[in-house]
Structure formats: structure tokens, C-alpha cells
Amino acid sequence: MMRFIWPFVIFVTLAGFLYVGLHLNPHEVPSPLVGKPAPAFNLTQLHDPTKQFSPQDMKGQVWLLNVWASWCVSCRIEHPVLLALSRQNIVPIYGLDYKDKREAGMAWLLDGGDPYVLSSSDTDGRIGIDYGVYGVPETYVIDKQGVIRYKQIGPVTQQSLHEKILPLVAELQAK
């Protein structure tokens, strides 16, 4: 009887590892920026290149920074979710139009609706690198002190919105 125990234990251990591995997403790389101040930038606004936007302007408010682009396919999945959220006026959403042509970005917002208070234009993707962006869309929850509290990689879904983002926003706003 004993001689079957060890192979069985090894089999169960391996099967356990493989089972857990099935549900892991290798494309989700935990961001080291969570808990750190949001990197500063100064970019021109998408709709008005004469005006600038900086995260410093948002001190004292909880806000979302959503990285998007007109060429980004998954952004189309989260777009209705963001539009609905913006209509609820719970938390302001600011956009970062990542590696996109200004005209293309504006056309896409005109076409699909604009959930953003305003969007900044990161034409050459430098600010994206500063924020550790590697796959669009990405969404950051930033608190009143300008600290990144959460990073959503990939599209915001109803589920991630109600399970993670909105509870966190409420908690941060109450502080």
C-alpha cells in the first residue's frame, strides 16, 4: 500500500499546480506603481492643443486615468462601461490617448461617445512608459494625494467596476 502513496502525492501536487496555472493570466503583470505617486506629466489636451493637463491639477480628488487609443480593439469593449460610469457622475474619468493621431482620437470619441472630462494626447507614448503601460486599455485609480491605488489591466468590465473599482473609489472618497 505504502508504495503507491508517494506517486499519488506527487501526482496530486503536480495536478494542483497545473490546475492553478490554468486560471493565471501571464499577461497580467502586477504594477510596481500601485501605492506610489502617479508620475507627473504635462501634456496638451486632445481637443484643445493650446491647453495643458497635468495630474497635479487633480490633487484633492479621486479620479480615474484611462489609457485608450482609437486603434485599440479592446477599448471598444470597455467603452460602453465607461460611458455609463461617466453618466453616473461618481468619479471623473480622464483619458490618455496613447500613441494615437489627434484627429483619429477625436474622430473615435465623436463616433463612439466621449466618457472623459478631458483627454490628454500622448502621441509618442512617452508618458505611457512612465506609467508602465504595456497593453491598452489600462485604468488607474488615483487618490486625493495623487497616489495610484489600483491598476486595471485590460478592459474595465461591469464585474471589475463593481467588485474593485467603485468600492475602492468610495473608500478613497470617504477619506
Binding site: P26, H27, V29, P30, S31, P32, L33, K99, D124, G125, R126, G128, I129, D130, Y131, G132, Y134, G135
Partner: protein, 153 residues
């Protein structure tokens, strides 16, 4: 007219100087250093490719970033620290030894030791099982004859 031409000539170097940004590939030493560094960094999009070999747009942007930081005079370690602060240890192909990477670094050795211990344990157990057989003189002769037939005949 002459003065206008002189004025134009005076201005032209200034214009050309401001307009031309040096192509990075023009500096082979820096390019080589950048590639050397990028070979040890992971492309975040294609994951199993290095930053040096990837053709993804993000990899191109990151290579540009590395070049620019090198031109600013940052050391390799400073550039790596910058990228790790943005993308995490995941960008490194050579993960640092930390509390949560101990298993990764030393797990194989632990498994090897466990295997050796198991082997030694089994061998000892087997040694105890095989006891010396006691033979009578007659049996010993028969055994010798069977094992060594040439001597007897």
C-alpha cells in the same frame, strides 16, 4: 542684396543645427550598449522575446527610451532601476533573489537534495533486507561448482 545674402548665410547654420536630430543608429557604440542591455530585458507585449529582438511598438519605444537615457549619461543600472520601477521585476530575464523568488532560485536544489536523501534511504533499506545466506560446506562446494564449472572439470 549683398547684406541680405550675408544675413541669410549667418542664419542658415543655426537653422540646420536646430532641425537635425542625430539618428541613434549613427552612434554604433551607444547602439551596441543599448542592444546589450536590451537583451537582458523582457518585451512586455511578447513576453518571451527580449527587448532587443522584439518588433512590437512598445519594444521600439522602450529602446528609444533606453537610448535617450544613455545619452543623458545614465548608467546601465540606473536605466534598469527605472524600468523596474515602471514595469516591475518582470522586465528582467534574470529575476533578483527576493523572499518570493526563493523557491524559484533554490527550489531545484531542494528537489535534488530530497531526491538524493530518498535514494540513500532506499539503498540503506535494501541493504538491510539482503542478509548473508549461511551455507553448509557441501552447498558451498555445489555453488562453487555451478558458478565456476571450468575449474572443476
Amino acid at each position: 542684396m549683398k547684406y541680405l545674402l550675408i544675413l541669410l548665410f549667418c542664419l542658415s547654420p543655426g537653422i540646420s543645427y536646430a532641425g537635425v536630430a542625430k539618428d541613434m543608429a549613427d552612434d554604433p557604440v551607444l547602439e551596441k550598449r543599448m542592444i546589450g542591455l536590451a537583451q537582458n530585458l523582457r518585451c512586455l507585449v511578447c513576453q518571451n522575446e527580449s527587448l532587443a529582438s522584439s518588433h512590437s511598438e512598445l519594444a521600439e519605444d522602450l529602446r528609444r527610451e533606453v537610448r535617450e537615457q544613455m545619452q543623458k549619461g545614465m548608467s546601465d543600472q540606473e536605466i534598469i532601476d527605472y524600468l523596474v520601477s515602471r514595469y516591475g521585476d518582470f522586465v528582467l530575464f534574470d529575476p533578483p533573489v527576493k523572499s518570493y523568488t526563493l523557491l524559484l532560485w533554490y527550489g531545484p536544489f531542494a528537489l535534488l537534495l530530497a531526491g538524493l536523501a530518498g535514494l540513500v534511504f532506499q539503498l540503506r533499506k535494501r541493504k538491510n533486507k539482503i542478509s548473508e545466506a549461511h551455507l553448509s560446506d557441501e552447498d558451498a562446494h555445489r555453488a562453487a561448482a555451478l558458478l565456476n564449472p571450468s575449474k572443476d572439470s
